[in-house]
């Protein structure tokens, strides 16, 4: 199993969710996060005083999927979240040893 983690622009969240549901992903964990990439943040001006705002709001999506689906899920997220402009985000894949469904005690594939 793989954990697919995606950090995307907030306004692309609905597109990504719809694409993943259409693919058949049953559940995911979503959080509002902030961070920055190579281009850093942005500048705001208050009464002439400029503030460099380093952290930009983002959405982080975490999905655990079967090994065979991982590449497809990554592709779906990238396609749905892409605007072509800076700050579109990142997607990465990590190995997962075990998954347990709390309610039933099912493990791994049955628990997804």
């Amino acid at each position: 199993m793989k954990l697919v983690t995606a950090v995307i622009k907030p306004h692309k969240w609905e597109d990504v969710r719809e694409a993943l549901e259409t693919f058949g992903v049953n559940g995911m964990t979503v959080s509002e996060v902030s961070g920055y990439g190579r281009q850093k943040g942005h500048t705001e001006v208050y009464r002439g005083a400029e503030y460099d705002i380093a952290l930009v709001p983002k959405i982080r999506i975490e999905v655990v999927v079967d090994d065979a689906d991982a590449d497809d899920v990554v592709g779906i997220v990238v396609k749905a979240a892409q605007t072509g402009r800076i700050g579109d985000g990142k997607v990465w894949v990590s190995p997962v040893d075990t998954v347990v469904r709390v309610r039933t005690g099912e493990v791994d594939g049955a628990a997804l």
């Binding site: 942005h42 009464r47 002439g48 400029e50 800076i86 579109d88």
Partner: protein, 474 residues
């Protein structure tokens, strides 16, 4: 403070209703309304200032305004009004503190001399001028002043700073009353200050500068971001201030008459022009016309028109307001250059705006306006300009020095500044045991005593947002 001609029929109606025959019901009704409008400026200022501080300080910021409202009102009744408007003790420097102490003497007093309004209502109206002036000062020391020390300071400041200056500027004297020569700036020097460019704006700005220097800058000033936490509060507060300012300025006519109508109009015009002036400068300088700039420019225009509202034509008010907006937008940057941390720009907006308005009378005043004075550009020569410069300078120096000494005394005796650790934690929580916002579900659940169950039954935040392009980069 213009004389009023009351119509005999109105007086007769007033007498029939049980009013003092010296009173004008129309004038009295307007001053009652105007006084309530000035009171509205206090919560307006609390919102204006509260929105500009960080979220951990908003309640303390608002409490400094509300605390000033409470303390100054009481001190004003006890001795403040008498010091400002009691019979002159000599040389126009101070009123007799015993004459109206407690205001009980005004319970059945007749009209305010030339103005046909109850003297006790005039006392309440003027008391709220002191309230708003004192509350303005607090913007210079946001985030770092001990609340108790602030209350003590503002009580003493009412007595030693505001009341004497109000006597100099606002006590026009009363015809036919021996010993009531009034204040020296208005009666001897010939300063024109219709509603308080010196006593309110320059006085609050200079006092704020003094306190900012006494307390020192906030931790992280110039390094950490200290951006406003809620600009919608700022906009709402600025709107309420503008509304209240009509009572402040037009109420100062002390009558429902032509002078009040002219002043009302110049106040309207200058606020609008001030907003445009600030926006134009920052659009040119920074590339953006901001909401904080619109609200700040509005206030800057109103500050400048406060002394000059009775001296200008509506076109003059456009020039005055626009100039104040642009000059104040430039002046708020001075604190970074000189290193004093005037947190919310009391100096940049009120001191500088007050100077623009006070001195500008010497240039832009027209004798066609209620105060009947011509400025330099209207053929009045340089004499009035000199009076305005002198009056403004005297109030600036007095308020700066006396407020500074008073601040040092309070700091030495009580300690004016909160602990460094508390300042970083947030003054709301430490000083008031409250926080303005419950932004995290878990925090609310913990304090409510419901444990983690309380947290997980909170509705989850939906991270969805409208699917729109063109969001800020990246």
């Amino acid at each position: 403070m213009t004389a009023l001609a009351a119509a005999p029929t109105v007086l007769a109606a007033g007498a029939g209703a049980g009013l003092d025959p010296g009173l004008d019901p129309g004038d009295t009704a307007w001053l009652l309304a105007a006084t309530a409008l000035v009171l509205l400026m206090a919560p307006g200022l609390a919102l204006f200032y509260g929105g500009m501080v960080r979220s951990k300080s908003v309640l303390n910021m608002m409490m400094m305004t509300f605390g000033a409202l409470a303390v100054i009102t009481v001190v004003w009744v006890l001795v403040g009004y008498s010091l400002a408007f009691g019979d002159d003790l000599g040389a126009g420097l101070l009123g007799d503190p015993r004459q109206y102490a407690g205001l009980g003497q005004l319970m059945s007093a007749a009209s305010n001399g030339s103005a046909h309004v109850p003297l006790i209502l005039f006392a309440a109206f003027q008391g709220l001028f002191c309230v708003i002036t004192g509350a303005l000062v607090s913007g210079a020391i946001a985030d770092r002043a001990r609340f108790g020390a602030w209350l003590v300071f503002v009580a003493l400041w009412t007595v030693v700073v505001y009341a004497p200056v109000a006597h100099w500027v606002f006590d026009v004297g009363r015809a036919g009353r021996a010993g009531h020569a009034g204040g020296w700036l208005v009666n001897r020097l010939g300063l024109v200050d219709f509603a308080g460019g010196t006593a309110v704006e320059i006085c609050s700005g200079a006092s704020g500068l003094a306190l900012a220097m006494v307390l020192g800058h906030r931790i992280g000033f110039g390094k950490d971001p200290m951006r406003p936490h809620n600009l919608t509060l700022v906009m709402l507060g600025a709107g309420l201030l503008w509304f209240g300012w009509f009572g402040f300025n037009a109420g100062s006519a002390l009558g429902a008459d032509q002078a009040a109508a002219v002043v009302f109009t110049t106040t309207l015009v200058a606020g609008a022009a001030g907003s445009l002036g600030w926006l134009a400068l920052e659009r040119y300088r920074d590339g953006h016309a901001t909401s904080l700039g619109a609200a700040s420019g509005l206030v800057a225009g109103l500050v400048a028109i406060t002394p000059s509202c009775g001296s200008l034509s509506p076109l003059g008010a456009i020039v005055m307001g626009g100039a104040a907006g642009a000059v104040c937008a430039w002046a708020v940057g001075l604190k970074y250059r000189f290193g004093y941390d005037d947190s919310l720009d009391v100096v940049g907006v009120h001191l500088v705006g007050g100077v623009v308005g006070t001195v500008g009378i010497g240039l832009l005043a027209t004798a066609a306006a209620p105060t009947g004075v011509d400025g330099l550009l209207y053929g009045g020569g340089v004499a009035q300009l000199g009076r305005q410069l002198t009056g403004g300078g005297v109030v600036l120096v007095y308020a700066l020095v006396v407020s500074g000494v008073l601040g040092l005394v309070v700091d030495r005796v009580l300690g004016f500044r909160i602990d460094e650790e508390h300042e970083v934690t947030g003054i709301d929580l430490v000083v008031h045991a409250e926080t303005a916002y419950d932004l995290h579900a878990t925090a609310g659940a913990r304090t409510a005593g419901h444990g983690i169950l309380g947290a997980i039954t909170q509705p989850a935040a939906q991270p969805s947002s409208p699917r729109r392009e063109g969001e800020p980069r990246p």
